[in-house]
Amino acid sequence: MADVKEAVKEKSMVIQKEMLANLFTELSTAKENGKKVVYTFVPGNITELILAMDMLPVYPEINALQSGMRKKSGSYIKDAEKVGFSEDVCTYVKCDIGMMLNGNIGPTGEKLPEPDLLLLSYTGCFTFMKWFENLERLYPGVEIAMLHTPYQEDGKITEDQVNYMVKQLKEDVIPKMEKVAGKKLDYDRLSKMLENSSKAEDLWVQVLQSAKNVPSPIDAYFAGVYYMGPLNTAFRGTEIALEYYQELHNEVFERMKLGLHPVTPEGEMKEERFRLVVEGPPNWTNFREFWKIFYDMGAVIVASTYTKVGGLYDQGFRHDPEKPLESLAKYCMGCYTNLNLPQRVDLLEHYIKEYKADGFLINSIKSCNSFSAGQLLMMREIEQRCGIPVGFIESDLVDPRYFSYANIKNRLESYFQMLGQRKVIMEQEGQTV
């Protein structure tokens, strides 16, 4: 396996680390301090509502990915399989269930508090519903609220869909949240948070779009998953998130001004040989080794769909303080995995062209039907529409049994070789790639 050196930390990384440490400390003392805890999902989350009622969010998916990165997921998954979960099903669910079976110890080594509310915001993935049904049985009697997010089946968000979601929020979800929080929702406070969200989203979009520059100052996938963290999870709408994105923005734009390449765990990349667009989540169990294969080859991911699971801000969406509930509804429906397949293909085509990509790569995840079902057709479409080399690799999010380093490395090396040859030919023919 590849030897990966220690990461170099920028200031924004330090801020994010502190944000997370504080959150987990707050969580570990939540019960003593009378803070209510809400378990909820990342895509289409309604964090501002949770925070506006002074509750603390826990995201089981984040716990799962952290367990993957800390090499704990393998045994958690096996424990879930021992209690009857099939080898075939989503490993995020099994990792989470396994973690609970093992005392619910969070990423910082402290026990996570039990939920006071299970908030099933059901966006872009049917498995979430099953996951929550299972959680509900692990915490019998806990308050549970469901927010059903309709799918953009026709490639657009309709008024009927917005009304359906707003009604659910107003008449079901918010009253349940208020009951658990023991206080009424302060709409002014919510609006203020949404205003913060919107400002942070502006900064985030500029960071993402910095990758249009040649060379790109960021890796919009491997580093992108860190950059997107605060906005996708517990911090959207907060001042500290705004501070984080301002800092990140400054760093990225400074790098761009200096013509620098992305920062990797082993320092700054020295060249940009290939610009790629990637579809699908990364693997977490071998994240660093996986990334290293790319930066060692000078491959930079200039746009990715995974960094849009928490919202398609780069396509214009912003939380709107003037219309809080409508905008939360539209936000939920606008997340990447809630787009239909033709929309996903259109978006990828747009990225490939806008970001001047040399290649398109799919990392197909065994666990995740929401992403993976249909990807092979998407790949063909992209090949036809964009005429660039497409690559396809397979792994899993958190099940180490499905990450074959040698296999993936071989495939990627052949792919990069193909990209390299194509570049040479095109340069000889005087074409721009």
Binding site: S86, V93, Y122, M129, Y151, E153, R344, N369, S370, G374
Partner: protein
């Protein structure tokens, strides 16, 4: 009489052919008879077929290619870790099987079916393709309103093709026909509960699946005849155990699998193979001035327990245990398609409910085109023997 009546054998042969006619010949012939007729394909599990009938359409259940069609192109569209059903359906879509269909409905049961709806859009199959996103909120004025709007959108899709206006009379008529259809199916299950030897599970399967490919009027005639015929005494009971099969609501087990379970000494007294045809539990009122409201209410309040519907407050485990008791069954066989997240994620909880209710169970997974049943037969045989030992 000890032999099944000849007439029954003839009906069963007919149903067997209809059930696996993947070219849907009869449905296509039906459409040819008039230019304003529609064929609307739907995937498992449930769509309110009444609305299609009222729009002068024939709802056709597309339950996959099973082991009846060689998959050549379909496999190139799916990774190995995705269930088999969609690849068979893609194969059918790229071949001629689904030609002349006007539209397709993809119920919101999982992300594979959801994304398949997008694949149909990308390959431009049908004049309309809808992901049938039924509500997971069951409040009438919230989920109900949304559901009604969804149905109205589909009515509009159909109207744009054939210009047929759906009236309350037509909807009420359709509701009545499907009420009858479900009553007759239940009657068959009830007779089989008392005398499962009169109609095998495989034959029952063929009869129900045939109904997905023909007009409901014709299916009702078949069902009526079957009810009458199996109402007579014939055959001898075997020393079999009685089981409920759970988890096969979407991708269908191959017939060989169902047969193997029966041959291993198990009477299947209930199952979820054709759950969509039995989805609404009880009748819907077919005499109101707002039949659409009845259809909405039917979904909100009379839906069968299913992995596709959010069950907090109405847990599936308890409902399965109740079914086992009502059917006087000895055990449950959990039989889900490999890689089927909805079924397999429900399984541990359903098993727990069975344990708590003192109900024996085993489980296995299958692909619709599995060809080897030896292991399954052995497992089911051992299960049957162990139950016989204790009962």
């Amino acid at each position: 009489m000890t032999e099944a009546p000849d007439r029954l054998k003839t009906i069963l042969d007919e149903c067997k052919t209809l059930a696996f006619d993947l070219n849907f010949t009869l449905a296509k012939d039906w459409k040819k008879e008039s230019s304003d007729r529609l064929l609307v394909g739907y995937l498992p599990i449930y769509v309110p077929r009444e609305i299609i009938h009222a729009a002068n359409g024939l709802p056709v259940g597309i339950m996959g290619a099973g082991d009846r069609k060689q998959i050549i192109k379909g496999d190139a569209y799916y990774q190995s870790y995705i269930c088999h059903l969609p690849r068979g359906i893609v194969e059918m879509a790229l071949d001629t099987n689904l030609e002349n269909f006007d539209g397709f409905l993809f119920p919101s049961i999982c992300d594979c079916v959801r994304n398949l709806s997008g694949m149909f859009k990308l390959v431009k199959k049908g004049k309309f393709t809808r992901y049938f996103d039924y509500p997971q909120n069951f409040e009438k004025h919230i989920g109900g309103t949304f559901y009604r709007e969804l149905i109205e959108t589909i009515l509009q899709d159909m109207y744009q093709i054939n210009g047929v206006k759906v009236t309350p009379e037509k909807l009420n008529h359709a509701i009545g026909l499907y009420n009858t259809n479900r009553q007759l199916i239940e009657a068959i299950y009830n007779i089989r509960q008392d005398a499962p030897w009169r109609l095998s599970a495989v034959d029952t399967y063929h009869i129900l699946r045939a109904g997905l490919t023909i007009p409901v009027e014709k299916h009702n005639e078949i069902l009526q005849e079957v009810v009458t015929l199996i109402g007579e005494e014939y055959g001898e009971p075997l020393d079999n155990i009685r089981i409920v099969v759970s988890g096969s609501f979407c991708e269908q087990p191959p017939i060989g699998l169902i047969k193997s379970v029966e041959m291993a000494g198990c009477y299947i007294v209930d199952d979820d193979f054709m759950l969509g045809s039995r989805w609404i539990q009880g009748d819907m009122d077919n005499s109101t001035s707002d039949p659409l409201n009845e259809i909405v209410d039917g979904f909100l309040t009379k839906s069968a327990p299913s992995s596709a519907v959010y069950d907090v407050g109405n847990p599936k485990g308890a409902r399965l245990v109740k079914l086992v008791k009502e059917r006087n069954a000895d055990g449950v066989i959990f039989c889900a398609a490999s890689f089927c997240d909805p079924a397999l994620l429900d399984r541990p909880e359903l098993q727990k409910s069975c344990d708590a209710g003192g109900i024996a169970h085993i489980n296995f997974q299958f692909h619709e085109n599995t060809g080897q049943f030896k292991v399954i037969k052995e497992q089911a045989g051992t299960f049957s023997d162990s139950i016989k030992l204790w009962v």
